[in-house]
């Protein structure tokens, strides 16, 4: 509608923008670049840095463009659109003045500042700063604050933009940061310097326009211009957040988020961001074979020979189990090898889970998509704690709750999710009669245009998992969550490799055993693809071949270890919980003699005489695409296209849901996989979360 648009004359160029735009957005529309410190697209407007001043001809003073809504502006007296200048002496002088004030108290310590080279203040000082300072008094100094093991503070550098305060309060939903005192004594701090409890705290490092909040683990490790930057995909949770892996030499130095509006916006959870030191520790860098009860390093040939021996038993006695972090290529190669050997005992799901067997992909995807929660008007979470299982998505749920008035109901543990919700019960039993229940959230779901019913993956890994899935789906059908343009039912996974492995068909074949059966001690040979979270206590009689990158639970029990590359060391396909196919890129070389997972199985297949029909990763992906065309659609989530498949009821084999309460899928957010357990930073976080003194905090 044209009357919703407003005409402006910016630097002599006429632009028409919606009335709700800020002047800064309008200026950007006109191609002008506006410097800023406090303004951030995803946070509320504070208007306190004054760097974004522009000239509005006719106004008595420069205008802070971030805080001026276009719709509030008036026309020139002659009725022509308001004239704005974003350049020129007037604007220049105003911004120079602001910059000079900012620099009065900002230390000149860029040479020892980790922000150096990627500092907003530094960059803008080049454009607007004076060559020298006219200030002759003492600069102010501010005590550094303790914000936990992740965020390093050098508060003297702070310019009080309050981005971090607004992030904590608005996005992360933990009101723990604030600006205390006033005037010259104003400082940013947590309450009595307690650590941040958010799973998203690392984002304040990116938000900080200066070097006041920097990464503690990364401190003094590298300069931005020395780093090789590789865009990749995170595998710490099933969201598949887009990341940039910054590496120096053969070491990953840090991990940063990459904007992907549909997945992680521009946030990253602390686990995804600070995992990188785990990539250098506890690594399996050469093959091992257990000799006389002791794991001995061997060469690949010897390891393969040992593996060949282990795989020469009857196929019914061989089991292939896939873990949480495995990439699609490895799963496919392992599965092909298993089938070539006549092995039907293959499974990628946690013990006890039975989902995904129907072959209907929509039954294990997050069909409404991560972005979809912003369109939803009511959300039911069943047996899942998104704050821990998909921390960045939880921030999006909070955003929808905050701005779109999303109503949330929870069946499962009543934990602090950073938004209000109605707790409907601890056990799946609460689903019974929910449709007719007299409660606010039941009514909201009933009347919702776009309701969302989300089942946690862990809720399905129990005896009544099938029944829970069916009951939740039934409920979704009852509230008409499945429409032609809306598929309001889905599963939130906790493991990055799960959906991809399911998409390759890594489930028990004809008459094959599932994970629980394979790990119950019946197998003679077990091939573990990065299996570290499963209970391996009953498998000691089996010969175990472990393929993985880290020496963790699985490797310690293994008889043969075949070292594979970690996610930052290979080009690999992962499918996130929405069914979005994404690829990692190689940022560094695999450690030592480690090889990509698929190549290990390809080589092994040659040794056992069942050579797999692909010689390169590309050839393998070609096979993958032929087997399942979804792998051809990179970066794409099917979303409501799966609605048709969800319209039919899910048939249940077991009887009804039990009254057993849901248990937490993730006990310790910082310790969910072998890479995290190898990370010192994650260990610090874990200790601090438990209220224990950590080495870093004690500094």
């Amino acid at each position: 509608m044209s009357d919703d648009l407003f005409k402006l004359n910016i630097d002599g160029q006429e632009v028409e923008v919606p009335r709700s735009y800020t002047l800064m957005q309008a200026c950007e529309e006109a191609g002008a670049e506006i410097p800023r410190f406090c303004y951030h697209e995803r946070l509320s407007v504070a208007g306190n840095c004054r760097m974004c001043l522009v000239q509005w001809h006719g106004a008595p003073k420069p205008i802070a463009s971030c805080a001026q809504t276009v719709g509030d502006m008036r026309m020139n007296p002659d009725g022509t659109p308001p004239n704005i200048s974003t350049k020129g002496d007037y604007v220049e002088k105003a911004r120079n003045g602001v910059m000079e004030f900012l620099l009065i108290n900002h230390p000149l310590d860029c040479p020892i500042c980790d922000q150096g080279g990627e500092c907003d203040l530094q960059d803008q000082a080049v454009a607007y700063g004076r060559a020298d300072s006219r200030y002759e008094l003492n600069k102010r100094a501010v005590e550094d604050k303790n914000m936990g093991p992740l965020v390093k503070t050098i508060m003297t550098r702070c310019i009080q933009c309050t981005r971090c305060v607004r992030f904590a309060a608005e996005v992360a939903g933990v009101e723990e940061l604030g600006m205390i005192s006033r005037g010259e004594s104003a400082e940013i701090t947590t309450y009595l310097e307690e650590s941040l409890t958010s799973e998203l705290s690392g984002n304040v490092i990116d938000l900080c326009p200066v070097g006041a909040l920097t990464s503690k683990p990364y401190a003094y490790n590298a300069r931005p211009w020395e780093l090789r930057k590789t865009e990749s995909v995170d595998i710490m949770d099933a969201m598949g957040a887009n990341i940039r892996v910054d590496a120096k030499g053969d070491a990953v130095m840090r991990i940063m988020p990459v904007i992907n509006e549909e997945v992680n916006e521009e946030w990253l959870s602390d686990k995804s961001r600070f995992i990188w030191d785990g990539l250098a520790r506890q690594r399996l860098d050469k093959p091992y074979v257990r000799k006389d009860g002791k794991l001995t390093p061997v060469n690949w040939g010897e390891a393969f020979e040992a593996a060949k021996g282990a795989l020469s038993v009857a196929p019914e006695k061989i089991g292939f189990v896939a873990g949480d972090l495995i990439e699609v290529e490895q799963a496919k190669a392992a599965l092909d090898l298993a089938r070539a050997l006549g092995v039907q005992n293959t499974d990628c799901r946690p013990a006890g889970a039975n989902y995904g067997k129907s072959g209907v992909r929509e039954h294990y995807l997050l069909n409404p998509t991560l972005l979809g929660v912003e369109e939803a008007d009511a959300l039911l979470l069943i047996g899942t704690n998104p704050r821990l299982e998909a921390a960045v998505w939880n921030a999006r749920i909070r955003k929808a709750w905050l701005w779109n008035d999303l109503k949330v109901g929870v069946i499962g543990e009543a934990v602090d999710l950073t938004y209000d919700y109605e707790h409907l019960g601890d056990s799946p039993d609460a689903l019974k009669g929910l449709f007719n229940k007299d409660s606010a959230i039941a009514e909201a779901l009933r009347n919702a245009e776009r309701p969302m019913v989300i089942v946690g993956e862990s809720a399905l890994a129990r005896e009544d998992g099938d029944a829970i899935l069916a009951a939740a789906h039934d409920y979704a059908l009852e509230i008409q969550a499945i429409k032609d343009d809306w598929a309001g039912f889905g599963v939130l996974h906790t493991a990055a490799g799960r959906v991809g492995a399911l998409d390759t068909g890594f489930v028990p074949g004809e008459g094959g055993a599932d994970t629980a059966a394979m790990l119950s001690g019946d197998m003679e040979t077990l091939v573990l693809l990065g299996v570290d979270e499963a209970d391996l206590s009953k498998t000691s009689s089996a010969t175990m071949i472990y393929v993985g990158s880290h020496g963790d639970a699985g490797a310690s029990k293994a008889d043969i270890i075949l070292p594979s590359a970690a996610y930052t060391e290979m080009v690999a396909t992962y499918v996130n919980t929405e069914g979005r196919v994404q690829m990692t890129r190689r940022a560094v070389q695999p450690k030592g003699e480690a090889r990509e997972g698929w190549a290990i199985f390809r080589a092994l297949s040659d040794v056992v005489g069942k050579t797999l029909p692909y010689d390169s990763a590309d050839a393998l992906r070609e096979v993958l695409r032929e087997a399942n065309p979804i792998f051809a659609g990179l970066g794409y989530a099917p979303g409501h296209e799966g609605a048709d498949a969800l319209k039919a009821k899910i048939s249940v084999s077991s009887d009804g849901v039990s009254k057993a309460p849901f248990t937490a899928a993730i006990g310790d957010f910082y310790m969910t996989n072998p890479i995290a357990r190898a990370s010192k930073t994650m260990a610090e976080c874990s200790l601090q979360k438990q209220g224990l003194e950590t080495a870093v905090a004690a500094e």
């Binding site: 604030g178 600006m179 205390i180 005192s181 004594s185 947590t190 309450y191 009595l192």
Partner: protein
């Protein structure tokens, strides 16, 4: 401004409001809707400070936060922003010494020296726990500079000597009356008033305002409006609306007939009475009456109600003659007696009754 931090040690780990404070808390909470109760944070912090011997401890702040269901950091921000919330223990008598320019020019620095001598450093509490002090910005009593605030009261016009005496008395447990410490009332001039001494400044006679307007039952005592300056017809303010038609209420009254014009007489110069001795008649009204041919009290005293209506209509002030009771006044004066008002006129106290040029 020094760094403001909680004294965690002195704050202990618990705080409770005094039972007698609860009604006040309820009063403040009652001012805001339930979901906006955090608006009461400043009053509650203030009450907590009062209940905690004059300073805000960390547990007290937390108690306020809990009551208002606010995150601690949000209350912490408020408590540290306002310097009226003290985060360190203070003495029984906490002195806030104004050091802003007017007080400084009038000797606040000397008072600071007294504090330093008698108490010590700012925010230091004397060993007997009685005194502490800090410098604050303007307390808004610059006319009485230099001044200090001790707990809730202002002590003004201090000299180092008087201030030291105040401190000594407080230290000895004696009460000291607040207010100025020189011979003056509040901020009035020292030794009594030096200007604006005329009595008629204060009796209202200068403006002939004897009472405030619009008080119930009070008769307005204003000088008659200048007839020449007035519009010819009074704008219709007293109107009633009926059937969408506006009618002047005055219209309902029959227009006075010409024969109701009061009787006029010819009076020789010097023979006329001073009509201004009637309350309600000023020089302007007198002139108008004279032009009508009314010069004597006896004429007014003899007015019939019809005459009154006619005159009121002529002079465009309906109801005023009756309200001000001109006729009774005129009767009294015609008999040679005096009224309260005429006495004042005769004494020359009523400005508006003096002849033009005289004032």
């Amino acid at each position: 401004m020094a760094l403001r931090r909680f004294d965690l040690e002195a704050g202990g780990d618990s705080f409770a409001f005094k039972p007698e404070t609860e009604p006040t808390i309820a009063f403040w909470l009652g001012k805001y809707p339930e979901d906006k109760k955090r608006s009461a944070v400043i009053p509650l912090l203030w009450l907590a400070q009062k209940d905690n011997a004059g300073w805000l401890s960390e547990p007290a702040m937390r108690e306020v936060a809990d009551r208002l269901e606010m995150p601690y950091i949000r209350v912490y921000e408020v408590a540290t922003f306002y310097t009226m919330f003290r985060l360190q223990p203070v003495g029984k008598h906490h002195i806030q010494l104004c050091g802003t320019t007017p007080c400084m020019l009038r000797g606040a620095n000397d008072l600071k020296e007294v504090c330093a001598k008698k108490i010590g450093k700012p925010m230091h509490v004397t060993d007997d726990g009685r005194l502490s002090w800090e410098e604050v910005e303007c307390l808004g009593a610059c006319v009485n500079a230099p001044m200090v605030q001790i707990n809730d009261y202002y002590y003004e016009d201090l000299t180092p000597e008087t201030f030291e005496e105040v401190l000594s008395k407080l230290q000895n447990g004696a009460d000291v009356k607040p207010g100025p410490f020189v011979d003056r009332l509040n901020s009035a001039p020292e030794g009594g008033a030096t200007s604006l001494l005329e009595a008629d400044l204060f009796d209202g006679s200068r403006n002939a305002i004897a009472s405030l307007p619009n008080l119930p039952g009070a008769a307005p005592d204003q000088p008659a409006p200048d007839a020449a300056a007035l519009p010819k017809e009074t704008p219709p303010t007293n109107t009633k609306r009926e059937n969408g038609k506006t009618t002047l209420i005055e219209d309902s009254k029959p227009t006075p007939k010409p024969e109701d014009k009061p009787e006029i007489i010819e009076v020789a110069d010097g023979e006329e009475d001073d009509l201004k001795r009637i309350k309600g008649i000023g020089p302007v009204n007198e002139k108008a009456l004279n032009e009508l041919g009314i010069f004597k009290f006896s004429q007014i005293a003899a007015w019939t109600p019809a005459n009154v209506d006619w005159v009121e209509d002529f002079m465009s002030f309906p109801g005023r003659i009756e309200r001000e009771d001109w006729i009774a006044q005129a009767k009294t004066l015609a008999e040679g007696a005096e009224t309260e008002f005429s006495k004042r006129v005769d004494a020359g106290e009523v400005e508006s009754s003096k002849d033009e040029g005289e004032a």
